[in-house]
């Protein structure tokens, strides 16, 4: 039987995302809204699929400047090509998902994460969260559910 992620897990995931946004691209992000998925223009959407006790995708929507900031930092390139924005968004989604998934393990869920993929089209349903940053909003859609109830899971 599938169940939605508990709020405690969702908030833990988001707190980890905020923490690693700061260490990865130097951005302070604030959760500003939780509601319907949005897909603003001039953004790149990247999805990663969970499998195991938690399954389904998490989708990240980054403004291009944030994606390019990661490239700038990793490559020590002060003026990265705009063509590298998708690679930056993909790797940023990979890092944030990987690190934030520590929260899932803490709550007793065993799961695997798939390879990041660029998402095209309407965003999937799920818990949609908007974070505001100085470089534009980041949208996250948590479409994961749990396969089984695990002791300790909210």
């Amino acid at each position: 039987m599938n169940e939605a992620l508990g709020l405690e897990v969702v908030y833990g995931f988001l707190e980890a995302a905020v923490r690693y946004l700061r260490t990865t691209v130097g951005l302070d992000a604030v959760v500003a809204a939780i509601g319907e998925p949005m897909f603003p223009p001039q953004t790149i959407a990247v999805a990663l699929d969970f499998s195991g006790d938690v399954h389904g995708p998490v989708t990240w929507v980054f403004p291009r400047p944030i994606a390019l900031e990661l490239v700038r930092r990793l490559m020590c390139d002060p003026d990265p090509s705009p063509d590298t924005a998708t690679d930056g968004a993909t790797e940023l989604a990979n890092i944030l998902t990987g690190r934030a998934s520590e929260v899932l393990e803490t709550h007793g869920f065993k799961c695997e994460i798939g390879v990041p993929r660029v998402h095209v089209g309407a965003l999937p349903g799920g818990i949609a969260v908007r974070m505001t940053t100085a470089d534009g909003p980041i949208d996250i859609v948590l479409s994961m559910s749990t396969t089984e109830v695990v002791p300790g899971a909210a």
Partner: protein, 144 residues
């Protein structure tokens, strides 16, 4: 000059690791974006160090490390990944991986780890952390 191969599906991560390895005094002799390539590249180049991501198309990096170290226990592998679960770290440790770097990679730590990984004084001695103290929390985990 020690040599290295980089296995990571992200072009920008390969770029960062290339810069760091070159800065640490390594020659990067090959790069690939999939875990399936590891054994063949290792046997072709016999590098002093292999960096491995975990989440990649095809065979994941943890499975690739298991295969590589079963065939070549002398290989030195540094996992470079965003996955920090104890299960993953234990799997890599049991396979013989001695170093585990978490993304986002701290450049100074990474350079220190790369140099330490091929330091003849330290190689093979991490079973006793006192001989060669690890340089970050994740690597510390590996040494226990």
């Amino acid at each position: 000059m020690p040599s290295a191969i980089i296995i990571d599906d992200s072009p920008i991560m390969r770029g960062q690791l290339r810069k760091l390895l070159v800065g640490a005094g390594f020659s990067v002799v090959a790069e690939a974006g999939a875990g399936d390539s590891v054994l063949g590249l290792y046997e072709q180049h016999r590098p002093d160090l292999v960096t491995l991501d975990i989440v990649m198309p095809g065979r994941d990096g943890a499975a690739a490390a298991v295969e590589l170290l079963a065939a070549h226990p002398e290989a030195t592998v540094v996992m470079c990944t965003s996955l920090s679960s104890r299960e993953r770290i234990d799997m890599c440790r049991r396979a013989g991986v001695k170093f585990y770097l978490l993304k986002p990679i701290d450049p100074e730590y990474a350079v220190a780890v790369f140099r330490r990984a091929v330091d003849p004084i330290c190689v093979g001695k991490l079973a006793d952390p006192a001989d060669c103290p690890p340089v970050n929390a994740a690597t510390d985990e590996m040494a226990r």
